[in-house]
Every structure is written in structure tokens, then in C-alpha cells.
Amino acid sequence: MFINILFYILSGAGITLSVIAIALPVGLVLGVLLSLVRVYGGKLFSGLAAVYSTIMRGIPHVVLLFILFFVLAGTINLSPLLAGAVSLAIISSGYQLEIFRGAIQSIGGGQMMAARALGMTKLKAIRYIILPQALRVAIPSWSNEVASIIKDSSLVYALGVPEILRRAQFMSASTYQPFIAYGIAAVLYFIMTFLAGRLLDKLETKTKIPCLQLEK
């Protein structure tokens, strides 16, 4: 019984992972680009980015997910899985924008000035001086957002995508074993967030700039 439930739910892990594998990188790229617009985009574009992030962070994820899903699925006819994943990416980009904005601002204007003084264009300064430092700074808070995305991937169950939670719900209803079914789902999600956290901790250690904190 337990084994049957386990395997049935486990077979949804691939779908959950695909949702994450789409939402995470798309959200990252969107978040970084938007944070650059927010910091360097001038009054108008910076303001627009701020409005975007405020909206994304001010509405429950499920509500946004439904709205975005019906917009995406309605206009470009995406599959529920793809539309759900992209919607999660869009929601997450609002949070990631703020994470990277904070990281960029923590680097300080001096680094930009020194880069421009060398004759670098603004874009080159961002690419070679600002981002390499800001991305390092952002890792701890970004790993928080990664955990959120992994857990939020369960929201696409509401769109009928047969991922872990959807399958757990089905098993719970058909076997009358809600504790086992949801327990397995919980363990699976926990394993994913735990591993992702460890991985990012490693990345943080590996990319650490020597002695930066001891700077006089």
C-alpha cells in the first residue's frame, strides 16, 4: 500500500522538477534584468519596475497564477505545465528583482565610478564589475527565493498539472490514507529544498571573495 502510494506520487516528481527547472532560470534572468532597469533605468523605467515588483509581491500567488495562466494559455496556447511554470517565473521575478536590487546597491557607486573612469561603458561596467560582485552578495537571499519557488511549484496542481501535490491529493482521496499521501509529498518537497539550500551554500563558499569582510 505504502509502496504503491509512494511510486504513484514519485512519478509526479519529474513534472515538479520540470516546473522548477523552467520557473527558476526564467525568473532569475527576468529578476536580474529588471533589477538593472530598477537601479540604472532612469526615473521612468525604474518607476515602472518598482510598480511591477509591488504588484507581483502584493497579490496572493494562487490568484496571480490563475490570472497569468488564463492570459498565457489564452493568448499563446501553452500547455498547463508550461503556462504554470512561466507564470511562477513571472511572480518570482518580482521578488528576485528586489533581491538583486539590494545586492547591486550594496556594491556602492564607487565601483561603478572606478570602472567608468577606466573608460568602460555603463554596460561593460555592469557586466564585468557590478554583476560579478552583486551576484555573489545575492546568493544567501536568493537561496531563500529558490526554496520558495520549489514550494510554490505545488501551486500548479490547481491548474490540473499532475505533479507531486496533485498526485498526493488523488492518492489521499482514493486510498483514504491522507497522512501517508501528504506525508510523502511533504518529504519530497523537503528533500528538494534541503538539497538546493546545501548546493547554494557550497556555491557561496566557493565564490567567496577572500578577506572581503576584513577589509580596513
Partner: protein, 253 residues
């Protein structure tokens, strides 16, 4: 040696309704070391940043090698490649080693390949006596070492002029000497330099001209002998007397 590299005419800069620079004029000749002194908040740093357009002037003219650089359509990034700049707080790129700091302008701005850039960077690091620290990150270097790397970074771009913005003000007294030593060496080698500094020993020994700025205008300028011993303006006398007194103790070292 009397060919002007920089000519500034009627330079004005207004910040938030306050006139920081009022009608500044200055000529810097090839090979000259010009030292700018003056009380804080009188626009010395702003003036220096106007010279390489990090701060864009509101009006007036800045000529570099006979070219008007604050004209519409001038590529500012290209203009800045002809200037080196050394900052009070070093501003080394924290994620790069000493070598990486000196190389990045060569590879990403000048487009040199890694090998040529490394060779050139090593040459400049040797020039400032930092050849034994090339793999260290800014966080692992002392203030004086950081500033010497910053000077090497500026030198590597083969600038026409190097601008120094209070290069020793953030240093422990013990470390000032090594940075001033490098600056003296550069001056003697004929590098054109514009320095905002309060190191009067350096000014007296190395400067070809001293410019005293206050309230956004040039109060007086002249060679060190004129400025220290026969200033024409009473205010110059007062300021130089005060500052020499103040820095006399650290100069003795």
C-alpha cells in the same frame, strides 16, 4: 615641455542651486605636476571629476590635446581612456586580484588578449613595487598597497594625464610614504599629473604649480616657491600656514 595637454576655460558646475565651480580656468602642460589645494567643500574633487567628465560641467570648455571634450557628440567613454584616476578610497574592484584589477581595463576596454594584457599589467605592478602581491585580493592588501595597485591600474591604460583625488587621505600615516614615493617617481619620469592633496611636502618638492581653490574659484596659483614664500593673497598665506603646521608632524617621517 610647454605644450598644454589640458585647457579649462570658464568652467561652471551647479549642484542643487549651489554653484560649486564658478568660472574656473586652468592650463596643464605636458609633464607638469599640478597640485590643487584648498579647504574641503570648495569643489576640488568636483573639478577633478569634470576633467574626465565623470561629472558633466554645466558650462565652459575643457580641451584635451586640442580637442574640446565637453561638446555634444563626443564619446565620453573614449575620452576617459586618456585619463587615469586614483581615488581617496582606492576603489579597487573587490572581486579581482591585484593583477586582475590592472588587467581588466586592458582586456575589456582596450581589447588586448590575456597574454599581452598580463605582460603589460605585470610591468606596471613592478613599476609601483607590487610584483610580489599580484594574486592577492584587495581585502588582503594594506591601504598603501591598494593605492599602489590603483596607480598601476591607471598607468596600465597609458593615460595622457593621471588625476589624483586625495590619494593619501584615507591612509595610516605610516603608509602615506610608499604612495607618495610612487607619485614622486611618476612625476620625475614626466607623467602629467593633477593632484588634489594636502601633502605639503609633496607639493613643495614635486609640484610645478600649486593652485589654491576656495569657494569654487581659483584664488591664486603659482610655483611652490611663490606660493609658499611670496603669496600675493592674504588668504593663501593663512591657508598654507595652517596646513603646513598641521601636516608638519607627518612630514618629518
Amino acid at each position: 615641455m610647454t605644450k598644454p595637454i589640458i585647457e579649462v576655460k570658464n568652467l561652471k558646475k551647479v549642484y542643487g542651486g549651489r554653484e560649486i565651480l564658478k568660472n574656473i580656468a586652468l592650463t596643464v602642460n605636458e609633464g607638469d605636476t599640478v597640485v590643487i589645494i584648498g579647504p574641503s567643500g570648495t569643489g576640488k574633487s568636483t573639478f577633478l571629476r569634470c576633467l574626465n567628465l565623470l561629472t558633466y560641467p554645466d558650462s565652459g570648455e575643457i580641451w584635451l590635446d586640442g580637442k574640446l571634450i565637453n561638446a555634444p557628440g563626443v564619446n565620453q567613454d573614449e575620452v576617459r581612456q586618456h585619463y587615469g584616476m586614483v581615488f581617496q578610497d582606492f576603489l579597487l574592484f573587490n572581486h579581482l586580484t591585484a593583477l586582475g584589477n590592472v588587467m581588466i581595463g586592458l582586456t575589456k576596454v582596450k581589447g588586448l588578449n590575456q597574454e599581452t594584457a598580463k605582460e603589460k599589467a605585470m610591468k606596471e605592478l613592478r613599476h609601483v613595487g607590487m610584483q610580489d602581491h599580484i594574486d592577492q585580493y584587495p581585502g588582503q592588501l594594506s591601504g598603501g598597497q591598494k593605492q599602489r595597485v590603483a596607480i598601476a591600474r591607471a598607468l596600465a591604460m597609458d593615460p595622457r594625464v593621471i588625476l589624483f583625488d586625495e590619494p593619501t587621505s584615507a591612509l595610516d600615516p605610516e603608509l602615506i610614504g610608499e604612495v607618495l614615493g610612487v607619485m614622486k617617481k611618476l612625476a620625475l619620469e614626466g607623467m602629467t599629473m593633477v593632484c588634489v592633496t594636502h601633502e605639503m611636502g609633496f607639493a613643495r618638492e614635486v609640484a610645478d604649480r600649486i593652485v589654491f581653490m576656495e569657494g569654487g574659484v581659483v584664488v591664486e596659483e603659482g610655483n611652490p616657491n611663490e606660493m609658499f614664500y611670496h603669496p600675493k593673497v592674504q588668504r593663501t598665506k593663512e591657508f598654507l600656514w595652517k596646513i603646513t603646521e598641521l601636516y608638519a608632524s607627518s612630514e618629518k617621517k
